[in-house]
């Protein structure tokens, strides 16, 4: 029987191979930052294929599950929603996948990212993992995704463990989640045979601590006018701390290069865009079809995404003193800091206070609230954010898009809406 999951993974690996070759042969100002990101993806897919072919353990898991633990246990893992996240730029099957997703008997108002992952599971397009580590925050939809894997004929016998995130974020809750992470380690050992070496965990965490520190420094430099950071590599910090090369020195090298690049530009008084006219806060995840939108924003309006929701997550640095401090702080970081989890769990205060902070610190001219159809928390709090921006005296635009499906509000419609907004507000 053909292993469609393996076939698809091989095809995705080949796509990244092609992308890497293309980037290497077409040097640009961002090549030195883009190429390592593509290489990280390529190696990830190669590792997945190798593990499947050699019968080694592979885990299906998600960001915000303390990925340092996987690295320290030397367990390869992949994220079932990663292909959908990669989007049109890196997923050549996007439109076919969306059409397949449309045929699922699930409500179309569930986040498309999660519906796509359900489709991948149902259609056997993911490599069959040894075990699944689920994630049940920040939204209801993700719980439905795990239910889908329990209903799938191909997946229902795969052992699954989902750390139970407490609703609150006090010390008791953090301790509880730390205990959940320990249970996750036991689960992984039981099903993969791999053990956690605390010394190795310390090494890994020390690297990710450095990565997060450098990320914070890059964010500080993004305050400069003009902004020295380019949207095209904007997803890099998150990908390298939560998904690829986690705790790997190559990831650290990327951060060092990105920081050096921004520093050089700030010292020279240069931004990525020569004529920066609008400093924009895009307060959500970048749409997967962003490659159509961001260059247009720059060329047509001189609009630069100075900050976004993915990038603005002040992460807790983990105290590596001993096992207890590491688990405690990893719990805190993954329960409270990661993008979407940070903003969507709890009340709207994090959204609101982040907007206030970013608008002031980053000299933002306007706030764009993309209002992804799957982010019901955002739909509920848009009025609050509008009022926050009104108080700040900063124009606010809520669009209404599907971050993962360009058919919902097409890139052209988004451009039209943004043009109307910029014109009406006298920006650019």
């Amino acid at each position: 029987m053909v292993d469609k999951g393996l076939e698809r993974t091989i095809a995705e690996r080949d796509h990244f191979e092609f992308l890497l070759k293309f980037l290497e042969e077409s040097p640009s100002e961002t090549s030195h930052l883009l190429i390592p990101l593509v290489r990280a993806n390529l190696e990830h897919y190669k590792d997945t294929v190798r593990c499947i072919e050699e019968g080694k353990p592979v885990i299906a898991s998600y960001f915000s599950n303390a990925p340092e633990i996987f690295t320290a246990m030397d367990i390869h893992w992949y994220c079932p929603v990663a292909a959908a996240f990669a989007g049109a730029g890196a997923n050549p099957y996007l439109m076919n996948d969306l059409e397949g997703t449309d045929k699922l008997a699930v409500s179309s108002d569930i986040c498309t990212l999660l519906r796509m992952a359900m489709y991948y599971t149902e259609a056997g397009l993911l490599p069959r993992p040894t075990a699944i580590v689920g994630m049940i925050i920040p939204c209801d939809g993700i719980v439905a995704l795990h239910e889908a894997s329990r209903r799938s004929k191909q997946w229902r016998d795969i052992p699954m463990f989902a750390p139970d995130p407490p609703y609150f974020t006090d010390e008791r809750s953090i301790d509880y989640f730390a205990q959940e992470l320990r249970r996750m380690v036991d689960f992984l050992t039981e099903h993969t045979g791999q053990k956690l070496d605390i010394g190795r965990l310390r090494e890994v965490v020390e690297v990710t601590n450095e990565q997060y520190k450098l990320w914070q420094e890059i964010n500080e430099l993004r305050r400069a006018v003009p902004c020295p950071f380019n949207w095209g590599v904007g997803g890099g910090p998150f990908a390298l701390t939560q998904n690829r090369w986690v705790g790997d020195s190559r990831g650290l090298e990327w951060f060092e290069a990105a920081l050096a690049d921004s520093e050089k530009r700030v010292k020279a008084g240069k931004g990525w865009l020569e004529n920066e006219r609008i400093r924009l806060l895009w307060f959500d995840v970048h749409p997967t079809w962003f490659f159509d939108l961001a260059p247009w924003l720059e060329e047509e309006w001189g609009a630069v995404i100075v900050m976004d929701m993915f990038s603005y997550c002040p992460y807790t640095l983990v105290d590596t003193l001993n096992e207890e401090t590491m688990f405690h702080d990893l719990a805190k970081r993954n329960l409270m800091d990661t993008t979407m989890v940070r903003q969507a769990v709890g009340v709207a205060d994090n959204f609101a206070s982040d907007i206030v902070r970013i608008v002031k610190d980053y000299k933002i001219d306007c706030v764009v609230w993309p209002a992804h159809m799957g982010h019901k928390d955002g739909a509920a709090s848009v009025g609050i954010m509008r009022e926050v921006c009104r108080d700040l005296g900063v124009p606010f635009l809520s669009i209404g898009i599907d971050t993962f499906d360009p058919r919902y509000t097409t890139p052209d419609e988004v451009k039209n809406r943004m043009s109307q907004f910029f014109t009406a507000m006298g920006l650019g």
């Binding site: 509008r386 009104r390 124009p395 209404g400 014109t423 009406a424 507000m425 006298g426």
Partner: protein
């Protein structure tokens, strides 16, 4: 200084000719299937009405409306949000909130004392609260658009109509007709339903008086009354045809452009 504003909407084309800050002529025509033809026809008629010989007599023309990119003779185009706000402010400088109800969308804009847009929200995803909705209901009730407005004002016990979607509202209306509900109360109920939606949009940008209605549906007195009741404030009547507010705004921007050049 002779300038023109051309507002190509989904239902109608509007053109205004202004001379030294005063309206010389204006024309409203039904839109054709080709925006460029609508633009050319309505502008030619406005030019003729103004006693001018050709479009060349105008020093600057600004196009607006959904078909603004298809106004071949425009020196530039500006979004209808900016134009309606500018037009409403010129017609009545005390206006701070504009509710523009066009053929296929509706928008609410808040603005400052200079007519600059501070915030806006729009509904362009469905026909709810637009001219198309009222056209559909007038067709179902066989009373014409003018009749819809007149009947609405006569309703004493507006029917509860929960649907704002024109398709579902049509079903509700048919049910109410079959149940024997008075026509005037059905029509008043329809207006209440749309006024409720507009009220929610106004609250999003913040209700600041004066409030004015622009666009073709602004001529519907029944809608103005229903909106007044929902908002709890009076809707200010504009001293000129509210349907041409966008074209006026476009012409005013044309004047500013010329001023800027000179």
């Amino acid at each position: 200084m002779l300038v023109g504003g051309c507002d190509v909407g989904s239902a109608t084309g509007k053109a205004v000719v202004m001379k030294d800050g005063e309206i010389t002529s204006y024309v409203i025509i039904p839109s054709t299937t080709k925006p460029e033809v609508t633009a050319r026809t309505v502008m030619d008629e406005a030019i003729e009405k103004a006693g001018l010989s050709s479009i060349e007599d105008l020093d600057y023309i600004v196009g607006t409306g959904y078909g603004r990119l298809k106004v071949p003779f425009a020196n530039e185009n500006v979004s209808e949000i900016t134009c309606h706000a500018r037009g409403a402010h010129w017609l009545s400088p005390t206006v701070r909130t504009v509710v523009d109800i066009g053929g296929q969308d509706c928008k609410v804009m808040s603005m400052d004392d200079k007519g600059k847009v501070l915030e806006f929200v729009m509904n362009d995803r469905c026909a709810a609260g637009t001219g198309r909705f009222f056209e559909a209901m007038a067709r179902v009730l066989d009373c014409g658009l003018e009749g819809l407005s007149r009947l609405s004002l006569q309703g004493k016990n507006p029917a509860a109509i929960t649907s704002q979607c024109s398709v579902f509202a049509e079903s509700e209306v048919v049910t109410l007709v079959n149940e024997g509900v008075e026509l005037v109360d059905i029509v008043a109920g329809l207006h209440n339903s749309i006024a409720g939606r507009l009220n929610s949009m106004v609250r999003k940008v913040g209700l600041v008086e004066d409030v004015a209605l622009t666009g073709g549906c602004a001529k519907n007195d029944g809608l103005a009354k229903a909106l007044e009741e929902k908002l709890g404030v009076a809707v200010k009547k504009l001293p000129q045809d509210p349907q041409i507010a966008g074209a006026i705004g476009a012409a005013l921007i044309a004047e500013e452009k010329l001023d800027g050049q000179s």
